[in-house]
Amino acid sequence: MMGYYFKLATRSLARNPGITALMVLAIALGIAVCVITLTVHHGMSSNPIWWKSDRLYTVTLDSWDPERPADEKRPALPPPDLTWRDAEAVTRSGIPPRAVRMYKATGVLSADETTGAVRPERVLARVTTADFFAMFDVPFRYGGGWKSAADTGPEPVIVLSAKMNEHFFGGADSVGRTIRWDDREYRVIGVLEHWHPAPKFYDVNNGAFDDPEEIYIPFGWAEKLELRSAGNTNCWKPEDIQSVADFLRSECVWLQVWVELPDAAARERMQAFLDSYVAGERRSGRFQRPNNNRLTNVNQWLADNEVVGNDSPLLVALAFAFLAVCLINTVGLLLAKFLGNATVTGVRRALGASRRQVFLQHLTEAGLLASVGAVLGVVLAGAGLWGLRIMYASPQTGFTGLMHVNGWSFAITVALAIGTSLAAGLYPAWRIGRLAPAVYLKSQ
């Protein structure tokens, strides 16, 4: 019978193309707005490394100006980044099994002579200590990261993003090949899978929704090559900085520091170390602000930095309200259409159709309508997200990573489509099934 119901549904929908188009559009718009809002909200609100949320902590210390806080709007917070010397001291404490100090740099990546003519690319690099990959569970397609010894060497090794590996090596296993970054050759030791943590929790001060960097090199190159930061560098007092060495000794903050602490005891030891370290620095004239040495987990870190604005949940609520309005309109139109055709339903009942059969016939029509609406809704959502990327995605706005429909968004979309189909079709189909056929036959 489903084939028969489907045939009747297509004829019925074709009979009133205007109303059909209106209903499809209403469902599609409702779904599209919801999917777009949910995708952006999900990107903005999720913790991309939730499974290690209770082990990963960023370290912040308030080495800022004694006269004013680092951020006037959030005076309780220390600066988000650390000075060179503080970062070095914290990561060399020996307490956390894994510790990372890092920053963002930029340079031109180009093929060596063995690779052939491939267009060079200016890329962002993450200059980091070795634990970055293991600490953040970064997935590798080929090879892996480097050992700690490579940081101090430093060794000329490099990890490429999947995109850069595609660009320079056609996606092949490039481990062991060489590639140039600025004027120096590096040996490829690892290629990442597509990895796109959103928000980019480990460096929210430099574009919380930026794409991850395209290459990764050992931290030792920072000093050796005098690599300047391509991220934010914040300084609070005038200092005579004539050289890179001067800059590294300055009170400017620009390095992100993360530690992995497996349990409460480790966390307490780390906190004690920080307090002790700061107390020592305070005696030498630094850290003149109130003691504010923090270990902050990922969730708290995202909240402290207001990565999720207050507007986002409100927008999601509004999007669902809009979907509800669209659905109510569709239900109204469907009901009017079905009741307008009540005589035919009365005839079908007289000829032997049961209430259940009438219900199923009309539910099929509503389901078909909603399915077309859902497909169009997904297409519109894709177009909408693409449009948002075109309009807003740039390193300045930091929205590049948000507008991808991921598995989560897709699951929500499918659930929305099915739910919408049921919601829009159930009541009108039930209502028409309850009609007393004699009433409508009598009116003829």
Binding site: L8, R11, L351, S354, R355, A436, A438, L441, K442
Partner: protein, 243 residues
């Protein structure tokens, strides 16, 4: 075939109660051709809806072909209606989206017949009403008389035992009305029981038996007596003379 005993049917609104049928009893034997007449508002259509299982009733009993219809579920009533009853309406009530073939197909679809058997029955029914060549026309392309013949084909395609016709010639001119009546008589001769509701005494005279409904009751009800039944040739001319 049809046995109604002391049926009552009341329509209630907030303000009034309308007794459409009261203590209504009627027997129709298998093979009968019964004409039901009566003034407007007398309860003819309500009787037809109750007989056709389109409406329930408040009190009494109704047996259709030996099945007590009183406590049947909607599914069971629909199956019984689909299997045993054919409907013919005054305004034909063909489904405008479907062509003639698909219109006749409707009751067979709900019987879940195989496609080949449905095709055979549809062709045979359309053949009987002389419209096989119009099988793929739309209803709007046919005259009123042709549409009513399609409706008859639809009613008989499932080979029901019982045909309910509500003013089947009411929207037709006299020539077409006669053709439709000829067709109904032909179907009756093939063994189908027919109950015809009509205002037209001329048509009523062509039935084997006339029943008059007044104020929701059969005006001169007598329990069914097979030997007392007239054949069509002996049918009385006066409405209500044989009940």
């Amino acid at each position: 075939m049809l046995a109604m005993r002391h049926i009552s049917k009341v329509f209630r609104t907030d303000l009034i109660e309308t007794h459409a049928l009261r203590d209504f009893s009627l027997d129709v034997a298998a093979g009968d051709f019964v004409a039901v007449t009566g003034p407007s508002g007398s309860g003819k259509t309500t009787f037809l809806n109750v007989a056709g299982l389109l409406e329930g009733f408040d009190t009494g009993t109704y047996q259709l072909d030996g099945v007590d219809t009183g406590d049947l579920s909607d599914d069971a009533r629909s199956r019984l209606r689909n299997g045993k009853i054919g409907f013919i309406f005054q305004s034909f009530n063909l489904i405008p989206d479907l062509d003639i073939f698909d219109n006749v197909d409707v009751p067979l679809r709900y019987r879940r017949m195989k496609a080949a058997e449905r095709r055979e029955r549809i062709t045979s029914a359309l053949d009987l009403v002389g419209l096989v060549s119009r099988a793929h026309h739309m209803p709007s392309q046919l005259s009123g008389g042709q549409q009513q013949r399609v409706a008859i084909a639809r009613a008989i395609a499932g080979d029901p035992k019982f045909l309910l016709a509500d003013e089947p010639t009411g929207n037709l001119d006299s020539l077409m009305a006669r053709q439709v009546m000829d067709l109904l008589e032909q179907i009756n001769e093939m063994g189908t029981t027919i109950v015809l509701v009509t205002h037209d005494p001329e048509l009523a005279r062509r039935a084997q038996r006339n029943v008059q409904i007044i104020d929701g009751q059969v005006s001169d009800y007598r329990p069914y007596e097979p030997h007392a039944h007239a054949t069509r040739e002996q049918a009385p001319l006066a409405a209500g003379a044989s009940a």
